[in-house]
Symmetry: C2
Subunit: 363 residues, 2 copies
Amino acid sequence: MAAFHPMAASCVRISPLLPAASPVAEAEAAWACTAPYAHRRRFSATVATAAASSASAATEFDFKAYIGEKATAVNRVLDASISADEPPATLHEAMRYALLAGGKRVRPALCLAACAIVGGREAWAMPAAAAVEIVHTMSLVHDDLPCMDDDDLRRGKPTCHVVYGEPIAVLAGDALLSLSFHHMARVDSYPPDVDADKHPARVVRSIAELARCIGSEGLVAGQVVDLEMTGSAEPVPIDRLEYIHLHKTASLLEASVVIGAILGGGSDEQIERLRKYARSIGLLFQVVDDILDVTKSSEELGKTAGKDLASDKTTYPKLLGLEKSREFAEKLLSDAREQLSGFDKEKAAPLLHLANYIAYRQN
Amino acid sequence: MAAFHPMAASCVRISPLLPAASPVAEAEAAWACTAPYAHRRRFSATVATAAASSASAATEFDFKAYIGEKATAVNRVLDASISADEPPATLHEAMRYALLAGGKRVRPALCLAACAIVGGREAWAMPAAAAVEIVHTMSLVHDDLPCMDDDDLRRGKPTCHVVYGEPIAVLAGDALLSLSFHHMARVDSYPPDVDADKHPARVVRSIAELARCIGSEGLVAGQVVDLEMTGSAEPVPIDRLEYIHLHKTASLLEASVVIGAILGGGSDEQIERLRKYARSIGLLFQVVDDILDVTKSSEELGKTAGKDLASDKTTYPKLLGLEKSREFAEKLLSDAREQLSGFDKEKAAPLLHLANYIAYRQN
């Protein structure tokens, strides 16, 4: 546990280089650092050096408040997008049940932060932020199905098919998938201050990114190979494991970031830099997931823990060992941070902290 | 059988008003009219009157060649859009199996014809034509699942889950759904002669139409209410049956036509007129489906016949009787034709004949 602590990232301001000066920083430090870990200091120093090289703005960035604010804003959009009263009631209930179950909204935050880092107004990316969360939820609902991963617990609650039955879970997933594109394409989704000439082309390009990351080049491809691997007795090589994670997890994180940057009016060069950032944190996300499955309880995770071990599933800890997995995660985090170095430090703070959060989260 | 013959529509040119003059017309007449039916003449006369009021172009319209050409063109796009060689092979095979199983491609033809009727080049709507067929296929794959309608036969072949298993069928459906939006949004999907200023906004509007017709306002809503109805012992009122059909069938036909008209550069007034046309033929499509289920064999249909009766499913023939169902179909066909009256007769010929085809098809 010592080498890789899920919450250490939020402790940047209490590292030796950056004493916690403000009440906000102290409050966040208290929130973040519930237990001391030997390794935290080294990590903290690294992150702090990167952050401190610009201004106090980055160091005083209140990540907890940021992610909370974004989640609230996105939840409002998601809540409004599915009417509980309209028929068919069961379908809408199932969609709302899956969607409003209190996820961390990491993908929407990435989307909004990517829009902002290239100079866009976050509101321009809000429909896309909602869309990527809807796609994520849809993939969970289908992956949890009895014929798939057969999972009963998700975000601490019974899964959609457990509550509403299998047919409704399949259909709720389909409806969520189409809803995500509806969010992206509805004219009234966007604020009136978008560039009327450039905006439609940006939306079309964003929708192409979203569509690509879902199907046989993205989430679905990852799930298919994951299923094949789970049923196989042969040992899984690491490049195949990476294929699964790059598709099953990284592709949607990549789309979230890239779409935000497109809608924010980023240049092609900026968009591609952010794509690399996103690929690194995408793989990082899954490596951390694998580590958490081994090191945390179901209660802490809000989903079935130790499932990978129980099902003899190939994971990074299984292939590399826990310590090497943590080192790999560090490398990915460092790669991601490198891509942000060319951007304005203050505007880069959310994406920097989101990378840290993904690296150091506890569930 | 006499009142409503699935192939009578193609006989417009051999009606008393319009003697078959050209070899093409004679060939089509031979293809279309394999058996004489008493009622055909009255229908034929109606259609012929509408068609003849303009020019010989409409009367000489070779529907068989038209639908064959469009199907070939769309099949080429569909075939090229899923690589058989790329991994994951099983997923791509399953997608190709479902998609290239030889459907009639009515929705793509509607989309292309709607583009043309408002003065657009058909090539502008080709990506959308592929997209609507992909959405249709996806809905069939998921509706056929064991937990849903549990159908083993589709288009004369074992259904996707029978061949590839349930998990792959669910995932192939998801991948197809995202592929449809990818077709719509990929820049290289469209020919270079589209209006660069107006085109992106038209694509965005089209994608919104497509997304809306799939989810909880469209296909999925229809399937949910259909499933609820099938499991219920209570008699189903006709407005509920209409709800199911309008959502499960008409919504995608509506989207096919409306999207074609949008991409073709149609005016709002034209688009709304075509929307009404599409709603009528959409409902007509399902009424005819219900009739065919009662009157045709599995071999003729290429799918399980008599299934509605066997499952005690509510259908138009069950609620209204066969004769009244046929009258209702006639009324819908006449409503649809009325919406085409304001358009150029020659350009309207494909949509006119598509309506007739939907009314009089044999499977």
